[in-house]
């Protein structure tokens, strides 16, 4: 984007791959209905089908939080890199 003479930072970095995985995981888990369309094991009388999906609400929240933290760190690192290069 910027035409500063600094080295072009790679668009795909390991951190960004992790972020992408965090965001893609809920899709894989939730759209693969066959993996959880069953009643056993039950949890407190609630069939697997229901508690498993509700558990995924929590898992996906955690994953999004991780993605958010990583993304912020990534952005900050880039910003300081940029600032350092221009000095």
């Amino acid at each position: 984007m910027s035409d500063a003479p600094e080295v072009n930072r790679a668009v795909v970095t390991p951190v960004r791959v992790v972020i992408a995985l965090c965001l893609v995981a809920p899709f894989v888990a939730m759209l693969w209905v066959g993996s959880y369309a069953k009643t056993d094991p039950e949890f407190a009388g609630i069939p697997f089908f229901y508690w498993y999906q509700m558990l995924w609400v929590l898992i996906s929240t955690l994953l999004t939080m991780v993605a958010y933290q990583l993304w912020q760190r990534d952005q900050r690192a880039r910003a300081s890199e940029k600032g350092g290069a221009s000095e």
């Binding site: 999906q53 929590l58 996906s60």
Partner: protein
């Protein structure tokens, strides 16, 4: 169903309703800016909302009274298939995380209030922008109507909806009053009113759900009993079940995915998003919004509880209000009904504001009066928000309830067809504007015809959201099939149009606009000075 009016419940309901009404009018003074006549002020609350208000606003807006009535109702009627709402809301957050901050940035840089504004700016096409605006309006109106259906269900159970033989005016009077109040404070306070009331609504709903999910299972003898009773009912009725059958799994997954993709195409979701203070507010929100999904999952289980509690209603929409009335002491039933009722007012207000913004910016200003002043824009928006609500009211009062639900179903299919132009446009300018328009048209036509052709035991047309996917042979969500067709047409035509060197249109945005945050040059400018200073 018990006869007569439930006096205590009704009194509690009315007290809450009055409190909320006063708040609605006072909201105009909350975080007030100097220039109250701009559309930014009335329609986006000055774009100054922080994480928590945005959270309440988004939650208030996405999890509507209708959701709270309809999701458990679907479970009550059909079992597992109705639970798709949970994976649907799970999938929303990674999606928001990915594209909404970009929309926030570009909108704040260029002063876009609606998605159509963005599409016009990005593709330089008034036609495409009009298509997006019209789709948004078409899809929003039945959604507002459904909120009124939600209030009606509560009123019915409280005994103030009137019987079959009361005169229509007496029967509909409570709904008319609720509606009048809603219209009046939206008109005077704009987006600030629902934002403030959303606090009350969410608090009430959390309390009600927390109590319901603990109290009702104890009364019914635990979840074991509840699910056993539910299973017996589904087996006896030979409909539904505790897990979706093999054949229903495609439907389940495609409904979840299609609905998740569609949700943030709705004008009202975008309104709530753009009113936030910074793009970080949006990302931070994706980490706290899932609380609502958890609530929705728990709420869905109420459908099973209604079965176990022996609630027997012909209209499944009444199952949950009836369950509350049967299970709770009267005063708490009143609180629960207030939660549903207020839960209908908040989204109805936000939706009508969003529809009004859309009309004013993308139809009135683009096609009718290009030189409208900001004060005129605000005036038209206020009027349209009123008209939209009156339209929804007429819809509910004159037509069968299933019609509202059918149109809402169509609305979801339609709104999904604006996805390629909006989200595609946020990431790439590769798509050709005419190709996007053609793809949109194909998706709209296919979706409408396919939905028309779905019959159910009670209806000849618009009987459900799912149909056989051509070429795959599984039953899937029509909206998603139409969306795939839409994308295919768009891509193929883009290649052809590019080869033919068709004019591309002018893109007024720059790549860095999509990552700009508050504080960057050019971003603050749109904020009215007083609001920008007051936003802490």
């Amino acid at each position: 169903m018990k006869d007569g009016v439930n006096g205590v419940a009704l009194a509690v309901f009315i007290i809450f309703f009055l409190a909320v009404t006063v708040m609605g009018f006072l909201a105009a003074r909350w975080r007030k800016a100097e220039d109250e006549h701009s559309l930014d002020e009335w329609g986006l609350g000055g774009r100054s909302f922080g994480t928590w208000i945005t959270w309440f606003l988004l939650g208030g807006d996405l999890y509507t009274a209708y959701t709270f009535v309809a999701v458990p109702a679907a479970i009550y009627a059909a079992g597992a298939a109705g639970f798709f709402a949970v994976p649907y809301t799970i999938l929303i957050y990674p999606l928001i995380f990915t594209f909404l901050p970009r929309l926030w940035s570009v909108s704040h840089k260029h002063g876009y209030v609606t998605t159509s504004d963005f599409v016009r700016g990005r593709f330089g096409s008034k036609g495409l922008s009009l298509a997006v605006a019209v789709t948004g309006l078409l899809a929003t109106m039945p959604y507002i109507a459904l909120q009124l259906v939600g209030i009606q269900a509560v009123l019915d159970v409280m005994g103030v909806g009137g019987g079959e033989n009361t005169n229509w005016f007496v029967k509909d009077l409570p709904l008319l009053i609720a509606f009048g109040v809603l219209a009046a404070y939206t008109y005077s306070s704009g987006l600030r009113a629902p934002a403030l009331i959303a606090f009350v609504k969410d608090t009430l709903i959390y309390v009600v759900i927390a109590v319901a999910i603990i109290y009702i299972p104890i009364k019914l003898g635990g979840f074991d009993e509840i699910f056993t009773a539910a299973n017996e009912k589904y087996t006896a009725a030979k409909a539904g079940g505790l897990v979706p059958p093999e054949a229903g799994q495609w439907t389940y997954a495609t409904l979840a995915l299609g609905s998740a993709l569609a949700l943030f195409m709705y004008p009202h979701s975008i309104t709530a998003t753009l009113s936030s203070r910074s793009r970080e507010v949006i990302r931070r929100n994706t980490t706290i919004l899932p609380l609502y999904s958890l609530m929705l999952g728990l709420l869905a289980l109420l459908g099973f509880m209604a079965i176990a509690a022996g609630v027997s209603v012909t209209n499944p929409q009444l199952a949950i209000p009836q369950l509350f009335e049967d299970m709770f002491p009267s005063w708490f039933a009143g609180v629960a009904f207030a939660a549903i009722g207020i839960g209908a007012l908040v989204p109805a207000a936000i939706m009508s504001i969003a529809a009004a913004n859309l009309f004013t910016r993308n139809i009135y200003k683009d096609f009718i009066k290009p030189d409208a002043t900001p004060a005129q824009e605000t005036k038209i928006s206020k009027l349209v928000s009123l008209l939209v609500k009156v339209g929804a009211l007429i819809f509910v009062l004159t037509m069968d309830k299933t019609v509202a639900i059918n149109f809402q179903l169509l609305g979801g299919i339609w709104i999904l067809q604006t996805f390629p132009a909006l989200v595609g446009g946020l990431f790439t300018r590769w798509f050709h504007r005419w190709a996007l328009l053609a793809g949109w048209a194909v998706g709209m036509v296919y979706g409408t015809i396919a939905a028309y052709g779905v019959a159910s035991p009670t209806q000849k047309h618009f009987g459900g959201p799912a149909k056989e996917i051509p070429g795959i042979g599984e039953i899937g969500y029509i909206g998603l099939t139409a969306f795939v067709l839409n994308v295919v047409v768009t891509v193929v035509l883009t290649f052809i149009l590019k080869a033919a060197k068709a004019p591309e249109g002018i893109d007024e945005t720059k790549p860095e606009d999509y990552t700009a945050d508050s504080g960057d040059a050019g971003v603050q400018v749109e904020l009215p000075p007083a609001t920008a200073g007051a936003s802490h």
